[in-house]
């Protein structure tokens, strides 16, 4: 196992320690449980946004807690849900009376625990709404859209909902922004090497050199099929086609693009991909108004990439362009 770690069972606690030691001006832990991080200035009085999920995806989820982004995060073990209690505590710490949107990826473990947390929050008089990231088009066909898993595209929702909360939108409005963005986001990914859980030391799948997994998730899940490794341009076309179909993109449409590295893929390769995305969009008459290229939602040391599109309108673009700042994400 080629990892720079200590005892694997302390991995998550130690990395949170590192984050708190490095960014004491931006993040804090509201109580004794370090698995809950919130903005240093929480509660702000505005609508709170709480996200959460397993560890191993940095900068997702912990990295999107900050001004113009989420207000807090509940942190599970690597690829495991936080507990209901932790999800609830996070909401409690960020609620300043305006209520809290739970915004996280559609995974059974997370859903069951966050749902329990909404009950706990209700008991304490904290109003909550829940919006689920479910952007991965490979995970379910369009008829079962609501069952799709959430992957990198949730970044758009963090950014948009965070901006909406920052400008003072109320609870229902912030939830509606998140829902609107997720509804218009589509993602698909490929894997070139597996991920390795620190606790087990085992690769999530075996992939011979020269092959790729198509339609992978961000937890080392296998894809929907496997094929020979293609060129960057072929891969881009393979990923783009279902996104264009799903969002029904047509000439004149505007989009935001996220070319996301899964952890081990060089930034250089992501820019080679972006080049072709740009050219293909041009061919379709679709304008890229905003692009994010880099590691935004990873799967530890997995090699691979995902491509996300958000169909834009003026409102969505304005929210994406609003300022934001966390230790891991800055929109100046």
């Amino acid at each position: 196992m080629r990892k720079i770690i200590n005892d694997p069972s302390n991995f998550v606690d130690e990395l949170i320690d590192g984050i708190l030691l490095a960014h004491p001006d931006k993040l804090k832990t509201p109580g004794d449980d370090k698995r809950i991080l919130v903005r240093a200035d929480a509660p702000t009085g505005r609508v709170g946004i709480v996200t959460g999920g397993g560890s191993g995806h940095l900068p997702l989820f912990k990295g999107y807690v900050g001004k113009g982004l989420c207000s807090g995060v509940a942190i599970g073990n690597v690829f495991s849900s936080p507990s209901a209690q932790q999800c609830f505590e996070a909401a409690k710490a960020v609620d300043g009376g305006a209520g809290v949107v739970y915004l996280y990826g559609n995974y059974g473990g997370d859903v069951f625990n966050f749902d329990l947390a909404t009950d706990l929050a209700e008991l304490e008089g904290i109003e909550t709404r829940t919006v689920l990231g479910r952007d991965d088009v490979a995970s379910q066909p369009k008829e079962r859209k609501l069952d799709r898993r959430g992957v990198a595209g949730i970044l758009f929702a963090f950014k948009g909902a965070g901006a909406a909360a920052e400008r003072g939108d109320d609870l229902d409005a912030v939830a509606a922004v998140a829902e609107d963005i997720i509804e218009n986001t589509a993602t698909m990914g490929i894997g070139l090497s597996p991920t390795i859980l620190p606790t087990t030391g085992k690769p999530s799948f075996e992939l011979p050199d020269g092959e790729m997994e198509i339609g992978i998730g961000i937890h080392g899940e296998s894809g929907i099929h496997r094929g020979p490794l293609e060129t960057a341009d072929q891969i881009v076309e393979r990923l783009m086609q279902p996104l264009v179909a799903d969002l029904e993109l047509a000439q004149g449409d505007r989009i935001a693009v996220l070319v996301n590295g899964m952890g081990a893929t060089p930034l250089e390769e992501l820019y080679v991909m972006y080049r072709h995305v740009h050219k293909q969009a041009e061919l379709l008459g679709v304008t890229i108004e905003k692009s994010y290229i880099g590691e935004y939602a990873t799967s530890l040391e997995m090699a691979g990439a995902s491509l996300s599109f958000l169909k834009l309108n003026d409102e969505r673009l304005e929210l994406l362009n609003a300022p934001a700042e966390s230790p891991f994400f800055v929109e100046a």
Partner: protein, 207 residues
């Protein structure tokens, strides 16, 4: 079985079930994210610890509630949340029972299955833990002899687990594999079978 016996029997089974962690990890790696081995082994440890703290002078309901809480928090995940909810549902039936029969066990399984079905929006045939739990629970009621009832439940679960292999996963992470899930054995159903087998192996003397 009395409450002290229940406490001991659970604890013994939990020690036993940890040996299947690697198998469950591998099954869940193929069909999901590979954490089921951890969920089961950390969950088993947490239950043992919780039972150590609980003592014997409590109701069967309270014992099961401690187990549910411990399992839910050890490694929160789908299985942890579903099993914890299922245990809580079942536990209510045992609030006043002091001598547990195979009938009680079967009723518990039925309540547990309903809880999982509701929370997980799942039914038998979706290729989940339910596929093993439901027929095994029914088998428990077919004999009042504990050993015989358990053997029948194990047989029913074993058959069901084998059958999951040819099915397509309809719920949870495995469902994202779509057609590719066909041919792989369901980890959750397997975990339930291993639990029954662990119970038998660990508690032979009491059986």
């Amino acid at each position: 079985m009395d409450v002290a016996g229940l406490n001991r029997a659970i604890r013994n089974s939990m020690v036993e079930i940890k040996q299947y962690a690697d198998e469950l990890r591998d099954l869940d790696t193929a069909l999901g994210d590979g954490d089921l081995g951890i969920t089961v082994s950390l969950g088993a440890d947490a239950i043992i610890e919780a039972l150590d703290a609980t003592g014997d002078d409590v109701s069967a309901e309270e014992i099961i509630r401690s187990c549910a809480k411990a399992f839910a928090n050890a490694n929160p995940s789908t299985m942890a949340a579903l099993v914890a909810g299922a245990l809580l549902s079942g536990s209510r039936l045992w609030a006043t029972t002091s001598e547990l029969t195979t009938e009680d066990a079967s009723a518990f399984a039925r309540a547990a299955g309903e809880s999982i079905g509701k929370r997980g929006k799942a039914a038998v045939g979706d290729k989940t833990i339910l596929d093993a739990l439901v027929p095994a629970g029914e088998a428990l009621a077919t004999s009042s002899d504990v050993a015989e009832a358990l053997d029948r439940a194990i047989a029913a679960a074993e058959k069901a687990v084998v059958e999951t292999t040819s099915m397509q996963s309809r719920r949870g992470r495995a469902s994202w594999l779509q057609e590719r899930s066909i041919g792989l054995q369901d980890p959750g159903a397997t975990a339930f079978l291993r639990f029954l087998q662990s119970w038998k192996a660990a508690n032979l003397d009491q059986a």
